[in-house]
């Protein structure tokens, strides 16, 4: 049965994004088999009660820079849940805006990232590796980490059965390995809706270490899965050029947000700061200098660990996962 709210949500409201994705007015319900999924995935242990998170070299803060590398199709296969081009078919305006990212924006952004020499974690539609070999070569040459973002940003994973979804992740891993030699360890779902009930279990099973679709924290946190281990990685929907530039904000606001986010987290210590950028957005001529200024700011401080998602995840798994799980087990206020 549909939620009334779901039936009512034909469009969603996020600035210029509204011109792109929309949900189908009457999307089919997705399978529900588990009760209380939210509580079984993440336990409640607020940040105030956690053992201190210590980064390598006693750095105050881990900073993860995430450029998106996306593949949008002009005429994607129809999807029963999400309409990737809400305005019209085809939508060369919105498609062209995205395609600018691979043709121009990526290269402008890359020169700035190179200038600051920060390790990057590409949020990657895996099909982009085959589509844009020059971008793939640039990623491989710089030894970026890869945070999988599905295959295409115009095909989605809602409604996939368990077997299909498992095969999907195995394909992502295999194609990435073949085209880059890189073992992908992170994942976040493609497009606006990101998961099935099986997603965390399947990610852990197929060898992923971290999942970037849980936005609940400034630190990694264990996600409970059937087998193996998986953690959430604080991917940012706040320090992220898409929501920022979907509004009346421009580059100066972006820099101010980065600066304030950094100052606070640096002051608190033991956190992750994620800076998410999209070549189609921040790579615009009028905006590029602002990511330059933002990176200039965050690289001007001592005791900052610029790290990839994989490095952060491996460090957390090795040094903090067990401590946090034990604390959850023994915390007197715990409720399950």
């Amino acid at each position: 049965m549909l939620h009334e709210s779901q039936a009512a949500s034909g469009k969603f409201n996020a600035g210029i994004q509204m011109l792109q994705y929309s949900y189908r007015p009457q999307f089919p319900s997705t399978q529900r088999t588990r009760n209380d999924v939210d509580q079984s995935w993440i336990d409640y242990l607020p940040i105030s009660e956690r053992p201190p998170l210590v980064w390598p070299g006693n750095a105050r803060l881990a900073v993860m820079v995430c450029p998106n590398v996306l593949y949008y199709e002009l005429m994607p296969p129809p999807d029963p849940w999400i309409n990737p081009w809400a305005r019209m078919t085809p939508d060369v305006m919105m498609y062209g805006r995205q395609e600018f990212g691979s043709r121009v924006g990526f290269w402008r952004l890359l020169s700035i990232l190179d200038k600051h020499n920060v390790p990057c974690t590409a949020v990657l539609n895996v099909a982009a590796l085959a589509k844009f070999p020059e971008i793939t070569a640039a990623i491989v040459e710089r030894k970026w980490d890869l945070l999988g973002h599905g295959m295409y940003n115009t095909r989605f994973i809602c409604g996939l059965g368990e077997e299909e979804e498992r095969a999907y992740y195995l394909d992502m891993l295999r194609i990435t390995r073949e085209l880059t030699g890189i073992e992908m360890r992170g994942m976040g779902g493609p497009g606006p809706q990101a998961a099935t009930e099986n997603t965390p279990d399947l990610l852990a099973e197929t060898g992923f270490l971290y999942y970037a679709d849980f936005f609940h924290d400034d630190q990694p946190f264990p996600i409970n899965v059937k087998s193996g281990r998986l953690i959430s990685m604080p991917y940012s929907v706040e320090v992220n050029d898409v929501p920022i530039f979907s509004t009346a904000y421009e580059g100066d606001a972006f820099v101010e947000i980065v600066r304030r986010q950094f100052d606070r987290l640096y002051d608190e210590g033991g956190r992750v700061m994620c800076i998410t950028v999209h070549p189609a957005v921040i790579g615009q001529a009028q905006r590029a200098k602002y990511i330059d200024l933002a990176l200039q700011y965050v690289t001007s401080f001592p005791d900052v660990w610029f790290a990839t998602g994989r490095q952060i995840a491996e460090h957390y798994m090795a040094h903090h996962y067990d401590i946090v799980v034990e604390k959850i087990r023994t915390w007197r206020w715990a409720t399950r």
């Binding site: 939620h3 709210s5 969603f12 529900r32 939210d38 606006p192 679709d213 959430s232 304030r260 206020w333």
Partner: protein
């Protein structure tokens, strides 16, 4: 045309022009009362079938198919991280807030309740969860049970009854104030239609409406409208200036609603500290809680209601 008065209007309060009311006097001769409501709310990944959630409820990228982990977790940030920054900011300026606590938070997060109680915050009911919003879609029986269950959960967790109520997403049916009065709630925060408290008279008794400043609510300013945070600070200050000027003819109030999942982010919290610091510096401000505002108002009613 016969009587043009509509029978389709709200039922429980009178039209009342602020310039025609007897002056309202706040303690210490303060002209404006200021208080803060902090919403502690839970966004269920899996609300029951039939639960109503407005389509534009913030979180994720719109109301997506189940399981929408992005919307769920974006909101959950408030309970795990953001609220501690909000509490620290309020502590720093010695402001006792009202925590609007929903039933899921009350039942699942006793640690948060203890944090509120340690600070002697007032507790208001905040519905069952953010993903179960009251509207006319509920039957009378469903709504009465919903409100009772929400208040019971808060009472069980806190050991005291909640005197105030704020529906999730400001949601009410046409009957809500009557049910709240029936269940012993003293004041309601959902109607952003005034700068003074006023009385709602329902068949089940009266209840005070304490309007909040919707247009300064962090979700409206920073999520729906995305004004700059510096401008928000200025807007709150400008509102207080105007209220102080208007307060010559009787006290007014400003109730600021805060949502830790949003204002509790590292890059936003500094602006909240500034807003609260600005309020602290004003001499003509009575910084208090929503319950005390409702009480003071009630005690000044001619009938002594």
């Amino acid at each position: 045309m016969g009587n043009p008065m509509s029978e389709y209007d709200r039922a429980y309060h009178e039209d009342s022009m602020i310039v025609r009311r007897p002056p309202l006097i706040w303690p210490g001769g303060h002209r404006v009362a200021f208080s803060v409501v902090v919403c502690a709310e839970y966004y269920e990944l899996q609300p029951p079938d039939g639960a109503f959630v407005p389509p534009n409820v913030p979180g994720g990228f719109g109301r997506a198919p189940y399981p929408d982990v992005r919307a769920f977790s974006q909101r959950e940030y408030g309970n795990r991280v953001g609220i501690f920054r909000v509490m620290e900011a309020l502590d720093k300026h010695q402001i006792r807030a009202t925590a609007a606590v929903d039933a899921v938070i009350a039942a699942r997060y006793p640690y948060l309740i203890a944090q509120f109680q340690k600070r002697d915050w007032e507790i208001a009911g905040h519905g069952y969860s953010l993903t179960r919003v009251i509207s006319n879609r509920m039957s009378e029986e469903q709504e009465r049970n919903y409100i009772r269950a929400s208040l019971d959960a808060v009472e069980t967790a806190c050991g005291t009854k909640a005197n105030g109520w704020h529906g999730p997403e400001y949601g009410e049916s046409e009957r809500t104030p009557a049910f709240l009065a029936e269940l012993g709630v003293k004041y309601v925060l959902d109607w952003p239609n005034d700068e003074q408290p006023y009385l709602m008279n329902t068949p089940s008794g009266s209840i005070v409406s304490v309007p909040m400043a919707l247009e300064l609510d962090d979700v409206i300013t920073h999520y729906h409208r995305r004004i700059s945070l510096a401008r928000w600070r200025q807007a709150v200050a400008e509102a207080l200036d105007q209220l102080l000027a208007d307060g010559d003819s009787g006290g007014r109030h400003l109730v600021l609603a805060l949502h830790p999942w949003l204002i509790g982010h590292p890059h936003r919290i500094g602006y909240l500290e500034d807003v609260l610091g600005d309020a602290r510096e004003r001499r003509d401000l009575w910084i208090t809680t929503t319950g005390e505002i409702a009480d003071l108002y009630l005690r000044q009613l001619p009938s002594g209601a």
